[in-house]
Symmetry: C2
Subunit: 514 residues, 2 copies
């Protein structure tokens, strides 16, 4: 990875033969170097330029940034200057904000940190926060809360690398549409009211100072664009990071959170849709479900003889709950061993003593009280399983719908990118077994990790991605998911394990039925 942000130039000193002004002398040399027609400079730097050029003998290091085809000269130092010029990628999540510090010269990652979004104490979700903005000074409070938390985190992160926030010259911020509005101090009121209109789709590049960020006074902030209330800059960053927009074979990017966001496409076209797919897959929905963290079960196997569970917990701590990937593993194992049937219903005669009835509802004990961190049984109920079935059916139906819209089947996909924590922890074979994801060769499944952060980091690592962000945004066709008869037929067929049409899942072999 090489960048163009840092340029060391030796200018021909002025003479009677060439009386070009200081500013144009420098900007012209940079224009040639960067193959652009103009480079912009702020007035305050222009004011210092004559002294700097003469002090450094016309040999200088320039720190630059690009926004929308326009290059900006942000700082001039001695050519020998070795202090790092850094960029900061920000994944502006509703619940968690992740920062990644990049060396602008090399594109190298210097450090990362994360913090819980402090807006959570004002409103735990997007909807609550938007309603809060309608109170007196509500928007101001939410805006100041995130900006001040960012400033604190930036200060700490920089201190850990022994440098100053003033050494950050560029930021790239990817967040959902509402978070981006709150970050910019834009009223998000109309995002949640029909016809769901954001204040801005493409904020472009702003000065860090105008946003209240305490970094270099001339630093620029690139803010990822959205294509509406439901499809934010975090997803545009994800598409950028996945690279599906520049591949020849059609690929898909799936980001599962409260919503499932899906983008299908290739170098020629992109189709996106979003739908409520995930309730069973996130913490707080299944009684024992939780987000991934220490002590949480993320993988489960079953001993085929004893039907005992082999559990793995994050950091190998005593189990205290189960996360989405664990639930999917569990459901797959239950199905393969016949402990649940094709409809996802617990089969008492197979489960035997693992079944308990609590308040009239069947529960399966995954970890008995004596082995759990909580001192109580960790169980999964029939209601949890029903919820999972609906979620996996919704997911598969969305995949079928979006691929059908371009005349292909989920089984035709050449690459399948799964974003986020979900993508990192999920066992694709388990997801295939329950019919949540299509039955593709496993090597086509590619976990992306934090693709929003990854995409934000890319624009700090090379300016070639800057124009691509807008191209991606403009190329996306948004597919409205109409819950019509067609959709409902597909959904009904997908509510079985793995599917009513088992030919779609040839790799799923049921081990035994007892």
């Amino acid at each position: 990875m090489s960048t163009h942000w840092i340029q060391t130039v030796s200018l021909v000193p002025p003479s009677l033969k060439d009386n070009t002004a200081d500013t144009e002398r420098l900007l012209h040399a940079l224009s040639l170097r960067l193959n652009t027609d103009a480079v912009h400079i702020d007035l305050d730097l222009m004011r210092r330029l004559p002294e700097l050029l003469r002090q450094y003998g016309y040999r200088i290091r320039c720190i630059l940034w690009k926004s929308h085809r326009q290059w900006h000269l942000l700082e001039v130092t001695a050519a020998e200057e070795t202090r790092t010029a850094a960029g900061l990628a920000v994944d502006l999540g509703t619940t968690r904000v992740v920062l990644r510090l990049i060396d602008l010269a090399s594109g190298r990652i210097l450090a990362e940190s994360a913090f819980d979004n402090p807006q959570d104490s004002i409103g735990p979700d997007i909807l609550a926060r938007i309603h809060f903005t309608e109170k007196e000074n509500g928007l101001k409070k939410l805006n100041e809360s995130i900006i001040s938390a960012l400033n604190n985190a930036i200060e700490k992160l920089c201190a850990s690398e022994r440098f100053k926030p003033e050494q950050i010259y560029a930021l790239a911020v990817a967040g959902n549409t509402t978070m981006t509005h709150l970050f910019m101090g834009l009223d998000p009121k109309w995002i949640i009211r029909e016809p769901y209109i954001p204040v801005v789709n493409s904020p472009g590049t702003l000065k860090a100072g105008s946003l209240g960020l305490k970094v270099h006074p001339r630093a620029r902030v690139l803010i990822f664009p959205n294509i509406g209330s439901y499809f934010g800059g975090d997803l545009i960053a994800g598409i950028l990071y996945s690279g599906i927009y520049q591949n020849d074979p059609t690929g898909i990017l799936v980001d599962v959170g409260t919503n499932a966001e899906v983008v299908l496409g290739n170098e020629n076209w992109l189709i996106a849709c979003a739908g409520a797919a995930g309730p069973a897959l996130e913490g707080g929905v299944t009684r024992m479900g939780m987000t991934a963290g220490p002590g949480v079960i993320d993988q489960i196997g079953v001993d085929l003889n004893t039907l005992d569970f082999n559990i793995h917990t994050i950091e190998d701590l005593p189990p205290k709950g189960i996360c989405g990937s664990g639930v999917i593993d569990l459901a797959a194992q239950l199905f393969l061993t016949g402990m649940i049937d094709i409809r996802g219903k617990l089969v008492p005669k197979v489960c035997g003593p693992k079944i308990k009835e609590i308040d009239g509802l069947l529960h399966l004990v995954v970890v008995p009280a004596e082995h759990s961190a909580t001192g109580s049984d960790l169980t999964i109920s029939q209601a949890d399983l029903d919820s999972l079935i609906r979620s996996k059916a919704a997911m598969y139906t969305i995949l079928e719908t979006i691929t059908a819209s371009v005349g292909i089947a989920p089984q035709d996909l050449e690459s399948f990118y799964v974003a986020g924590t979900f993508g990192s922890f999920i066992n694709p074979q388990s997801a295939i077994t329950i019919g949540m994801l299509p039955d593709l060769p496993l090597d086509r499944y590619k976990p992306l990790g934090n693709s929003s952060l990854g995409g934000a980091a890319l624009v700090l690592q090379s300016e070639k991605y800057h124009d691509e962000i807008d191209q991606i945004r403009d190329r996306i066709t948004y597919l409205e998911l109409n819950v019509n008869q067609d959709f409902m037929n597909r959904f009904s067929a997908a509510k079985f394990l793995p599917h009513t049409n088992t030919k779609l899942f040839p790799s799923v072999k049921i081990v035994q039925k007892r």
Copy 2:
């Protein structure tokens, strides 16, 4: 004159079929209207946009500005809003600053005012001011002095039109290179030191706030570019105003002050030079000379029988001195009547009792003490006349040199623009008679008035001139006036009245010799 600065647009309100964000909905409509690919909006206006659009029912009046191919949306009001949106043209002179208020909707001139440049009390000329910037806080003082004087003048001018400075959305500022530097707070130190390097050639457009100007908070300031220390934005504005850069026949623009600045050209090329030509033509150089003002002699005729002078003074007040155009008239009449000879020497036998010897030097009494406002004789000395001869010779030599550089003669010029006060007052026939200006048909002489202000006003009256400013600057070839043998030969020939080669001045007929 019609402008594009004010656009009234009716937007299609958002719907489920079209969920484009507020910002893009408006900017896209403006882009189509203005035939541009993007319109920029500042964050603070973007923050207010959702409310404004809904309050005005998507029917709004937009105030725009253009800088370097980029349009900026500066304000949004109700479509019915009738308050004037104004622009301000500024001629930023070393001694006098002139303001012209323009209605941005119609391009119409609303009002004008002028004030003496307060920097005069710090340093009367460019050189003194540049030296002052080397003192502690010197630049800051000079900068604050002009900015605060501008703010005061703007406030008064707006009050006279019953509006607020916040109704000024755009400024266009034309000044010489040093004045432009002081206005921008740029260190002018290197302008007067070999190799004479300005900080910037093309400042472009800045925010008024960054310059400390108290107008609309989002107002933009276009600053005219220079091509070096000796050829400033005032002259670029003058070229724009004269139109010579877009004419087919080659024309010339002459601006006479302490220096004579000359631009020769047509739609294909422009050549400029500057030289010390004018000392005899400005106040303070001839003992009785002064700048034009009430009571100053601006026209002189001679009664051929009595050789008495028929004088005209500005505002018909008793005469107290004589300005440049008066001196030229006088010299022409003296020559035609034989009171001075071909070398400009007073001829005592013709002048008769009008001649006086003071301190060993011959003087001609133009106004006897009893008719003058000062109570003393108004006279012109042989030294004054010698100085005038040198000046007129320098002027003609410059004209010959610059025309010769492209293979034409001064007599070939199709149009001859004379800028400034000098151009407004001068009698071209008198200037021809003494051989200062070439012997062209009189209708080819066109006084331009304040061409610097005129050019600055043009960019407020139509955006088509914006790109032309840069094109003019880039097309100018600067001709260094080398005082070589060729120049000296021309100069010697031009030191006669009208010239050693009288064939060059066929219209000059000597009336009589006594």
